[in-house]
Amino acid sequence: MIAEFGLAALWLAAALAALQMVAGFLSVRAGEETELAGLIRPAAVVQGVLVSLAFAMLIWLFAVTDLSVKLVAANSHSMKPLVFKIAGAWGNHEGSMLLWVTVMALAGALIALVERRLPERTMQATLAAQGVVSLGFYAFLLFSSNPFERLPTPAAEGMGLNPLLQDLGLAFHPPTLYLGYVGLSVAFSFAVGALLTRQVTPEFSRAMRPWVLGAWIFLTIGITAGSYWAYYELGWGGWWFWDPVENASLMPWLAATALLHSASVLASRDALRVWTIMLGVVAFSMSMVGTFLVRSGILTSVHAFAVDPERGSFILALLAIYIGGALLLFALRASTINEGERFAVASREGALVFNNVMLSAILAIVLLGTLYPLVTEAFDVRVSVGPPYFNPVGAIFTVPMLVVMAIGPLLRWRQDRLDRIRNETALVAALVLAVIVLVSLIAQVSILPLLGLALGIGVGVGSLLPLWGRKLTRVPLATWGMVVAHFGIAVALIGMASESAFSKERLAAVEVGQSTTVGPWTVTLVGVEPVAGPNWTAIEGRMAASYAGGEPTVVDPQARSFWAPPQQTTESALVTRWNGQLYAVIGDRAPDGRWQLRLWWKPFVPLIWLGGLLVALGGMLALIGRVMADLKRREVVHRMASRRAEQEQLA
């Protein structure tokens, strides 16, 4: 009954999306207040409620393990801990697509409820565009990925959830990324609405900006968390693999970063109109490409839940319709957008344009590297593309971008002279050179990590300079956001460079009682014991790790075996110090009875994720600053309106 209720709610929501689309386009076409126009906002709001209900139903089905539902039987198990039963609701293809439309419908409901800044006609076009996008995803869900499908006879027991996914990270990782993807779909709808009604104005940019910022924050958190998950769960000691699935989240992030900066220029200076619209289309395209790569089964990874060519074609068709349609609209309308305000090369806008172009170039490089294996496969040549491609080629554009990023925020809007900021520039340049010289004197470091360290420190100091000589309590929240986010990039960069420059690795077979060393650490294998969890058994290596002869810390990495489904995972153990992390993994037992240990000492590696979190925090500060400013503006408008009404009454 619950499943049927959920399905009915989904169908109703799809019908409302169709209504929203038709009513929206008709009203935009009529160009005047029609009766239909009154339906658009309520349709979006009710849709949000209905889809949330459907999603709640699915969670309920998973929580009670209703094995008559195909999806539950295929992905859950009655013996699983409750939290993983619930998280399992979106740990599969159908459930994750339902989560996607839930987030999308809620976003649509939210704009319908609160966004009043734009001309009503632009809002109608925006919501109509949102209706088109949602309708495609409803169709996908209802026709090829129905999460509420029943089994003819209920299964006796569920098949379980991939143990790699039985981790608290799963509860947060997909929703976070989806919030990011969907936020970009809202930005896309705004861009289409603005194009359709020829309203590419600073107001449009201000209305769109919180959505881009929000999407960007979630993508940042999602990427950071995904990277940390891969680091500790996969047991290979790496934190970024240039895996297509990782790239699928990096590409929208790059596009959103560019969009964020160009939307800022449009909002404060009324320049870069066409470019901002273009980036809005590109950013959403990258979300769709990401969804296509991950969900179509074209890639094999822990994310590709099921291989089903029909679904792949469906998403590809959606991708073609949305992106093709948007680009066509763009081509037809771009020439009617007037050129915005002009600016000099040496200005804040100039620096932002430079970084935008560099980000787009990096995006192109990642996209080509990700798609290349898929293209060659069509010609029956199987290749894989990895760090030897991405690192150096990406660096060609990342390095100049970082250089400009260090000093760009110091430039004034519209027109400035580089010699005005020569002291700051000299300071940053001196620091970068000093780090390069010092590090290459004391250690053998290859070129990319060396540049990374130097630029990390340069950007770190440069990012704080905009605060120099200002009264800190008077600095607007949005400026704090920029400073913190840029500083976070620097921190992450130092972590990445340090990890690749100074990591030490030790692989050894060790008897119980013996020791081995890695970097400044001495690790003694104290014992190996079997342990059991709710749905797994494991061997656990007990090790005493001491840093530079100090008090030992006990760490216990495990090699776990799950039985439903049968699979093994490596649970690494970490010791975090202020200056780095010890990473320990236990492997198989050699035939002579010794145990395989793999140890890494990774100096300053936690800075990578700390930096990522700082970037997200910066985004949050900026978002709060913008939203508060908007609320204040609304209050002023409201107060002025009521005062005017009072005066009129008096008169």
Binding site: R342, Y372, Q596
Partner: protein, 156 residues
């Protein structure tokens, strides 16, 4: 100069952006042709071996009975088989991935040595019951059947 520039600023921006992005595209295409690592099945590697030291991937099944551990306890040696009689010896130092056992599918990343041994830096085994390395599609019937058996463990 500045008057001309102001007049055509939008055009200049568009051209610059196009140059940068097309440049990135060309650079990427050039680098991809040199840096992509190609995938080999054992029979392909025997018939037409890659240059010694070139980064490639080798995919196949771990031949049952061939898995040995060296005296240091961390070096594994095994054969990867493709169709029946083709096998490539592989050496790997490290902790084998989850679910790496004899008879399972594997993709080894590494390079061929002069003596014909494939030295793997990394082994990719299947992560879970739904995961079959893409590269292993199109293997022989017998192996496909074995793979199918593998992938349906736990299903009645």
């Amino acid at each position: 100069m500045s008057a001309m520039k102001a007049k055509h600023q939008r055009l200049v921006l568009v051209v610059l952006a196009l140059v940068a992005i097309v440049g990135a595209g060309l650079l990427a295409t050039y680098a991809l042709r040199n840096q992509a690592s190609y995938f080999y099945l054992p029979e392909q590697m025997l018939a037409d071996p890659p240059a010694v030291g070139q980064a490639v991937r080798l995919g196949g099944m771990v031949e049952p009975g061939s898995l040995k551990t060296d005296a240091d306890g961390v070096t594994l040696r095994f054969n990867v088989t493709g169709n029946e009689d083709s096998r490539v010896p592989v050496r790997f130092s490290g902790i084998a991935p989850d679910l790496f056992v004899e008879g399972s599918g594997v993709v080894a990343e590494g390079r061929l040595e002069a003596d014909g041994t494939f030295v793997a830096d990394n082994l990719l085994a299947k992560h879970d019951e739904n995961y079959v390395p893409k590269e292993l599609e199109g293997m022989s019937q017998q192996q496909a059947a074995r793979m199918a058996e593998d992938t349906t463990v736990g299903l009645e």
